[in-house]
Amino acid sequence: MIIAVASGKGGTGKTTVASSLALVAAEKGEVWFLDCDVEEPNGHIMLKPHWHRKETVRVPVPEINREKCTLCGRCAEVCAFHALVVLPQEVMLFPTMCHSCGGCWHLCPAGAISPGWREIGRVEEGSSGKIGFVHGRLNVGEAISPPLIQAVKKRIRPGVLNIVDAPPGTSCPVIRAVEGADFCLLVTEPTPFGLHDLKLAYEMATQLGVPCGVAVNRSDGNDDPVRQFCHTNNVPLLFQLLQDREVARGYARGIPAVEVRPEWKEHFSALLAFLEKEGYARCAK
């Protein structure tokens, strides 16, 4: 089973929820944690894995043969991402803007472009107690994360629980992280902004055909708007974690919520039981 943990924006404490879920699930069986927030991975701060393996991730980019190039300008015209510029003496490439679509090397009339390789980041794999841990790390200055997210998701193990920690937002990288999940846990905050972002995240997951449930983090006890939203859209409101100064302090020091408040484990156990009961865990065994 694949559970994606997402939130419409950063700073909802999504990682403390995802890592707490992994810790509770590990008490019951095999679990893998896949941090897909490759621009700012922070799951490892909570789960402190020991690393076993590293692998670089590369994407194709055009390589231009200056001998063959006639400076005709075609490649700059076809590149929808404006990664190529044809100057009077040379063709210039902005590698971080290239989406590796292959248009330029297929369409260069002089056959002057061939695909080369460029490293964009790496995938690191390790373990934290009984939790298998994978994350991706995008190189500084890189703008295009989906290929790296896909490399992380290739490590999803069939037949066991996989927790995918999605990046914040609702754009391409999040979609890549959430698509293919059996269930998406949407973490929100009980603020007007939180609700707005929750709606966007809910729409995104629904469009991907991924069923959702909502967890409220840092609840002040007044969750009526979130409750209303869940009721209207027929989305289960799974649990609320209260605003808690000790938990916030733990978060800042890299300690997951359930280690600060072991009594919160029951929320996560209940979530796992809910997933089992509702049949989301159909691929689990």
Binding site: G10, V85, M92, T96, A143, I144, G169, S171
Partner: protein, 123 residues
Amino acid sequence: MKVAVCAQDNHIDARVDPRFGRCPYFIVVDLDSGNWEGVQNTGTQSSGGAGVQTAQLLVNRGVNVVLVDRIGPNAIEVLGRAGIQVYGGIHGTVSQSLESYRQGKLTILSRANSPSHGGMGRG
């Protein structure tokens, strides 16, 4: 000698536009003949890489000098490699900026003075 100025409108007396990649027009002036022509900036329509596309447009037009207020890193790199000089900090109208340029009052930009808008940001 061709000078291009970022403009809000298709006229020599139009106000200058502060954004290189997103200005709707360039007024391209031939200093030798004094003739000018408005060039629509097709780069504004692109979602990312507007600065690079705009720079390509000016390279294709055979421009020698560009007068801007602000410009991003990718665009200035393209113009620099193409041997096009970039002068920054213009304001007022296109003709006023050209006058400042003629009088040597503008400073050459060697580096970007605006952040990159290329690629896809977070969230």
